[in-house]
Symmetry: C2
Subunit: 366 residues, 2 copies
């Protein structure tokens, strides 16, 4: 797919400045530093680290994360797990309630194939669906997802977590693997309290809980405050983005992904239009009022996006205003959704292409 039907994405040795735009690119040195920095933190605190591959969807990057010391990987979909199993990964946690015959069938095939497949559940219906499918087969490891304040999935109370753990432990075809949460940032205390209460009751019932899995990039460097956690999951840290800067996780210089765009119109003094719209940057605001950070033009506001145009408001710019044909480097609000738009990712060192990787796990049937 590097040869994208009518055009080559990039060749090793090409200058980034010469590539056709819009194009997301990854800085190799920043990528390596992000992997190393987070793994060092986890090692220092004795936490197993399980990178979430949803950010990059590229097996070679997960291999680099594991080579640095990560223990297993995290996927969000059965299709992602299939791709990474094919690439040789054995310890894969899918953090999703799996429902429906197609997904269950593929999950069972995957479980037969790799040694360390794990999923989560937060309801009797999900657990019973898994059990009905896995009874009489190689057992599937299931963790109970707990809502410790993130307000997405998960049981609401430690008592419910224990009830569900007991149900999993008693169910045919299933093994209780532990508990998991995807908390809101800066909530270590509440997370720890929920986990402690759950562990206490599990212990009282004699149910062993081998994994306590915590997650998220924004508060990653506070992961050690959740003392009962045995592992931490995070995805965005590998590329970083504008949201992670705001959350205090990283600096602008630690953002490995840029979307390169070209100024294609300057209709008036205060407006520039670029060739990156919602089909390149996505509409993810992540709490911002505009759609990305233009490196070197901090006062420029990507005020609106249509599908293939981004409209930049230059009215606050005191310095040089970008001219037609000029290339801009944009730190997206959210890298993970940008990855999902492109079939290939271009990597560079100091502006020279080092490799082009297929974003193998995008665009697959869930």
């Amino acid at each position: 797919m590097h040869d994208n039907r009518f055009a080559v994405v990039a060749r090793v040795g090409d200058r980034i400045a010469d590539l056709s735009t819009p194009r997301p690119i990854i800085d190799e040195d920043r990528l390596a530093a992000n992997i190393s920095r987070v793994q060092s933190y986890m090692d220092e605190h004795g936490l197993n680290f399980r990178p979430h591959i949803k950010t990059h969807k590229i097996p070679a990057l997960a291999a680099a994360q594991v080579a640095a010391g990560a223990r297993g990987i995290n996927c969000q979909k059965v299709s992602e797990a299939e791709v990474f199993a094919e690439a040789g990964f054995e310890d894969i946690l899918i953090t999703f309630n799996i429902l429906g015959p197609q997904k269950l069938e593929r999950l069972a095939a995957l479980n037969d194939r790799i040694s360390g497949l794990k999923v989560v559940a937060d309801s009797d219906i999900t657990v019973d669906g898994l059990s009905a499918y896995f009874s009489g087969r190689k057992p599937l490891t299931v963790l109970v997802e707990c809502d410790t304040g993130g307000a997405r999935c998960g049981v609401q109370m430690p008592e419910q977590a224990v009830l569900l753990a007991r149900r999993i432990a008693a169910a045919g075809g299933l093994t209780f693997g532990g508990i998991l949460t995807y908390p809101k940032p800066q909530s270590a205390e509440a997370v720890e309290a929920f986990i402690q209460a759950t562990l206490k009751q599990l212990t009282a019932e004699g149910i062993a809980c081998s994994i306590v899995s915590n997650g998220g990039t924004p508060s990653l460097f506070d992961a050690h405050l959740v003392r009962s956690a045995t592992e931490h999951r995070a995805g965005t840290y590998i590329y970083n983005d504008r949201q992670m800067i705001r959350m205090g996780h990283c600096t602008q210089d630690e953002c490995a992904m840029h979307v390169v765009a070209t100024v294609v119109s300057r209709p008036n003094a205060d407006r520039a239009v670029i060739d990156a719209g919602s089909k390149a940057l996505t509409s993810d605001l992540q709490g911002f009022a505009d759609f990305g950070l233009v490196v070197g033009h901090p006062e420029a506001r990507i005020a609106s996006l249509s599908e293939e145009h981004g409209v930049i408001d230059l009215s606050a710019c005191s310095g040089e205003r970008p001219q037609i044909g000029e290339k801009l480097f944009i730190i997206p609000n959210h890298t993970c959704v940008v990855s999902n738009l492109f079939d290939t990712m271009v990597f560079h060192r100091n502006g020279v292409v080092t490799r082009v990787e297929d974003v193998v796990a995008r665009g697959l049937v869930w």
Copy 2:
């Protein structure tokens, strides 16, 4: 690509209700009715109609639009035009300022291949770039893009349009093809005034203007109010979406696209979580406060999206609340960006799959 590496997307005759989710689907009857309704309007008013393929990116759908009476098609990118030229389309208008050697080279190859390629320009820089590339080759037809209030690309004043038309007419390798606008909705009077002033000055200078191209779905049924227009461009009308309902272009029953999602969690009485997040619905708000319309549950609010989860607030729901495992049919805020996320599109009639089409023009190098 129908066989999506590890799983088949759908087979003809499958029931939509049995497909793995999340999955965008297109209702064949609504699709046909949308094509017919808009073409009839254009025919009635003697307007050439040029559908924008960015909404579907599927040659078979453009063929249906042309079979109904459309004159040529509209693309937004060189790569889209390449795909549709390969599929046999000859009259292609690319409504974008084309800059940079890679795109210009491919544009020239495309112009050699088809009879009716046209692009737009709104600056001397774009025109001079095109002229430098096309001098000595088969001439390229260039329209002047005018900003009649849409505040994206385009010259700001009729005088500038005339200056640029003159520059194109005088440039080597280029032919002046006319003027074009992508106006804001409900602005027919302002659009007509801009066009009239431009045409008057072009006539005075003896510059023929064969195409006057107006565009947009929201005010499509007011297209006849722009009396000087020779053609109208629109994309979204073929599928329609929640935004088009709000703009008064269509009803809910005229929306041909749904995203089918499964309820995977009901953590509490007021919250349902579905398996469609920003990687299925996109984060396009289009002025709404939530991320799509749940058919049959008008009081349900898709309050937030993470990548593979959608969190639905059920607190206002007076009727039945969806249960785990239940499938929901969602009208997305914006169909065009949903198309761009999926490699294949599933079509159905009365809930039974009729065909599966590759979204051929997505994911290509610009």
